[in-house]
Symmetry: C2
Subunit: 271 residues, 2 copies
Amino acid sequence: MKITEYLKNKGKVIDAALDSYLPRDTDYPKAIHRAMRYSAFSGGKRIRPILVLASCEACGGKIKEALPVACAIEMLHTYSLIHDDLPAMDDDDYRRGKLTCHKKFGEAIGILAGDALLTFAMELLSRGKNPGINNNIIRTVTEAIGTYGMIGGQVVDIEERAETDLPTLTYINAHKTGALIAASCKVGAIATGASDKKVRALERYGAYIGFTFQVIDDILDKEGFALALGVGGARREAARLVERAKQELRVFGRKAKALRDLADFLLTRKK
Amino acid sequence: MKITEYLKNKGKVIDAALDSYLPRDTDYPKAIHRAMRYSAFSGGKRIRPILVLASCEACGGKIKEALPVACAIEMLHTYSLIHDDLPAMDDDDYRRGKLTCHKKFGEAIGILAGDALLTFAMELLSRGKNPGINNNIIRTVTEAIGTYGMIGGQVVDIEERAETDLPTLTYINAHKTGALIAASCKVGAIATGASDKKVRALERYGAYIGFTFQVIDDILDKEGFALALGVGGARREAARLVERAKQELRVFGRKAKALRDLADFLLTRKK
């Protein structure tokens, strides 16, 4: 299957699952549930949950086992975007051409919708069949999004807004974007009960992919790495990262085809 | 032991444990860890974590088993206060005579410190020895603080600010304050591996206590129930709730002395 078709199919599976897991927007109090759904269905590319499912497949698992985990990861990503868009943070009125959550529902509901998605993601992760696996996933995910991970990246991003030196940029990107992407691949493996060796290989794959994702973002936005390394230098760096990501997949053989194609696909994306 | 002495002793145990669990404020990025600690040590009465420990004792457990759970509950309470104080919510500059988190550290760090305490509480809960118990506790807690619990109460509180009718007040208090207090008692029991019967009894005890707590708050602040029922009516209602709470403790015998004294103590508090 072509990777574009794979992404489209898996995106549909994730959308349907998110719709089934999220609270109904007819449930009281309606405003918060409407806001959660509004942001969860606002045109995201579903890269992180697709990485969860593709990692699960690479380990020989069935995507059904990893679907709640994939949806929880997407809810966590959505929470982080809602809070990043707030007036006190990036103060964005639009995201992907739609009003941001706080512009649509007011700032109080915006803050609470983020809180609620974070909380609900944890609840969903605690509802899996195997308590040992659930625990391992919750520990992995909370480390990735905590103050030594995603939140840490956001703090430094806010503090060092004027700064463009490469070590600071690398810290921000590795933490703000990279940590959750690496965790997505790792938990996809954990959900299948994969060996530690495979879990660690997919975590490293995810770290390279997360970094690539950010470098390409910077090239498209003419920011960060593209300014520090130049567009040519940044493209070469991205290509090197993708090669290293794919090297981590050797142990998985043919089952990792989607993860390999996904890595290559990142280099070609135009938005 | 007198209840005032019990509260003081247990408060010290909780403060020391919180200090040991929370990230060092010398860890990078420092601002977020300073903000988390500032709010966690800003003079809270530690009612919720003390309820966790006293419930654990009522079930015959050792407080050591429930100490991380107690601290996680206090972190969740602290997160909810930080976000409630934000300009978009209650817009409070002071809490217990100290600057609120966002006034001290700026609004962005305020939002992120709340997010970080919520996240870190979940991480702490996933680190307990018994995965089955951890899972049960995380499920209980996330339900209590989600949109059908604490967040739901906050949403309705914001939407119905002018409203003072009793059903709305009851909904707000039961969800915004009551849900986490009831969960505190419940998870104290779960942490010891107590029977379902005992877990449910302590959950009901906690629900009555949470309600009492709110009625007394309203009497002291001349708000809510005190306006709707009159101060005399509200005091009688609080006394009735305390009696019902204590009835739930019969199955625990002498081990529930602290919980009984705590219930009586609530009726006498002056701040």
